[in-house]
Subunit: 425 residues, 2 copies
């Protein structure tokens, strides 16, 4: 079966090499040979290895119009022109394998609608690299009513937070090390500002809960504001801070979000170190499941891409996979109604009655407090840390408004979701 | 689409109930309704709930000859008559979903050969309950050359060992509690003596390494001999004892086995508590993956069974899944050639030169020692614990033979696989 690969970056090279070097293994598994007959690249100037030179093309039409090419593997990245090419390939009856989370998160349902019957759209590599979570949600867990997904789905931010927790030091230092070791890109904004994780949780939630989630509707907060003090405070509360992507089914719809989250030591996600990814799934009747593994990088992504290529090839022999993407938008709970516990740290004038005023501000908004601590008190300043009980976001904003009006309050130093109890069933 | 369920035990009842109560959800996922039209039971005398009474049958032919029944769900357990019925159903062109690890481990390839083209044989529930490991090996990880699988795949033994480790007490006490809480059957021999885990690792290895593994060829050792002293010694060596099912690809073939194994704290399998299951997979290019979740029980097993039913229904629309089971036998490395480290505890006469004789027995067989400790010395008796370096089983047996001939050696108290270093890549 003939394949075209679009893009010859890290993953593209890895996939082409593996299909060649493991040709015998994959042929045996599939009962048919997989041949990369065309490779699309953008940059006409680059020198290419001898092994691929004869197959390079700069014109995507050569691939789209070649009736012998049955599977198109899109590894270019970015939204356009990747989206248009995927659409054209699916309309031409070719199966498409992609690692492009941006295209799937924004246009998955439309693309799946555009496909010819035997043309599959497979994207295991788009979320959590080599962890087989997409196929598990679409197939293995189809017999469940899922309740919640919590994921550490961005390796860059998990590397940075793990490093801050393990070795101390600031966010800036940890980020510099992540760049040095290749765990952060030159411009890591999509990772640090949680956009990457939003795309991934949107895809997972859409598959798990059966309604499409618009990425722009997912509240997000990155990790740039996390300080050494936050990490230390988390520790003294018996927890760690992770960038958690979450999606939960409630009677009123889905609550989704990505944000730094204080989770208890002992929770399976608390132990996930470095650039690892992990996904926790809860549902009926399954109970709890955890998947953990490498979430990014050439090898792990290639594992998922090649698995999808083999699946696409098998499935073409029988006329398609028959797994549809949900098209109706998922009902979302408005952010103001999301109920969570929060960790908040405030800097106060160290004066009589200051704490009472703070307590009043919370009480006035109907926010209960689980704990109040005073880690620092010096030179007329006192710092207090509070953990709230379950609080709707709208109530929290009321409390913050009152606090800003409080003459004793100098500053809100930190506000972090604190799932110390509610993350577990 | 019409379904017949064979067997109305815990899982059978759960599956029938869920297909009814979640009919709308599953119909939406599948685009078609799933109807349980016949339920086979053995015991003609039992009282049945009203909801199923009209569909009960005692004659399997009624199901096999009904052309409207497209999927047969086998939940009877045991080897025969389950195997014959599965074969007849597949030959009649019906897809079969089963949780029967005994039938799959012994007869999977023959059954898959007997099947009509559109008749799938699905058995996600046969290994590790709700954990989607079968489909992951068959599909998601098909792009890998797998190197090793280590699994905690038996909930009963893991409950017993976790309980001994956490709360102390003997094997007998822990087993009594497991029975009281429903984690051990009235006759738990298949679990305790590792036969259940052997069936599961045989199935996993067959799928992972592409050659069929005969269950009778897998060396096995159960947990009945594990004592409080073993647990305490494991702890003092920085590890825990788990019943590990393992399969590794070596240049000479597969090494497989199930046995109590000393694994280091910090390894992902060391933390798996109670009746949980976990499977660790290593391969190229994926690296390491871990799946963890409920390995048994009605709900978790039902999750896998219903996922398979939905998959079978989808797949019938397109003419079958096209995933073959390997038929050629896998090349196995003979047990004598398996290389492992071992923990051994010996009871000696406390006399000068005793240790030297022991050391000589090991050295004579070419076995190196990583550590030698003397945890007990009293009343003329000394107990020593040794951990060997990597040793072929044949060498170890040589050493044991010499030790038995040693007048200073009173008894071998314990011999346990010690994967303190070699379990990790």
């Amino acid at each position: 079966m003939r394949i075209a690969v679009l893009g010859l970056g890290t993953v593209g090279r890895y996939v082409v090499d593996a299909l060649e070097s493991e040709r015998e293994l994959f042929s045996a598994r599939l009962g048919e040979e997989l041949v990369v007959s065309r490779i699309l690249v953008r940059d006409q100037g680059s020198e290419r290895p001898e092994s691929v030179r004869g197959r390079i093309t700069f014109a995507v039409e050569e691939i789209l119009k070649d009736p012998e090419i049955e599977i198109v593997v899109e590894l270019m990245g970015g939204y356009e022109p990747a989206r248009s090419i995927i659409e054209a390939a699916l309309k031409a009856g070719k199966s498409v394998v992609t690692a492009n989370k941006e295209v799937i998160a924004r246009s998955g349902p439309a693309l799946s609608l555009a496909a010819q019957p035997a043309a599959d759209l497979l994207f295991e590599a788009a979320v959590a690299g080599g962890i087989p979570i997409i196929r598990s949600l679409q197939e293995s867990l189809a017999g469940n009513r899922l309740q919640a997904i919590y994921g550490i789905v961005n390796g860059t931010t998990n590397f940075v937070l793990s490093r801050m927790q393990r070795e101390g030091g600031s966010f800036v230092e940890a980020l510099a090390e992540a760049k040095r070791l290749g765990y952060a890109e030159a411009d890591p904004s999509d990772d640090l500002d949680a956009l990457d994780a939003v795309r991934k949780i949107s895809i997972l939630a859409s598959l798990a809960f059966g309604g499409w989630v618009d990425v722009d509707a997912v509240p997000k907060e990155g990790i740039r504001g996390i300080t050494e003090v936050d990490i230390a405070e988390a520790k003294s509360l018996g927890g760690v801070i992770k960038l958690v992507a979450r999606a939960e089914a409630t009677p009123d719809g889905l609550t989704l979000g990505v944000s730094p989250t204080l989770i208890p030591l002992g929770h399976p996600l608390a132990d996930v170190q470095g650039a690892q990814n992990a996904i926790y799934v809860r549902g009926e009747p399954i109970g709890e499941l955890i998947f953990q593994g490498p979430g990014a990088g050439g090898p792990a992504t290639s594992s998922a891409v090649i698995g999808d290529i083999i699946d696409a090839a098998r499935s073409r022999r029988v006329g398609g996979r028959s797994v549809a993407l949900p098209r109706e938008p998922a009902p979302l709970v408005p952010l103001g109604q999301h109920a969570h516990c929060y960790y908040m740290r405030l800097r106060l004038h160290d004066e009589p009655g200051a704490l009472a005023l703070v307590a009043q501000a919370f009480a006035g908004a109907g926010v209960t407090l689980r704990s109040v601590r005073q880690p620092v008190r010096e030179a007329g300043i006192s710092v207090i840390s509070v953990v709230t009980g379950p609080t709707r976001r709208a109530q929290l904003e009321d409390a913050r408004l009152s606090l800003r009006g409080c003459p004793s309050v100098l500053a809100e130093e930190s506000l972090i979701l604190a799932e110390m109890e509610s993350l577990l069933p």
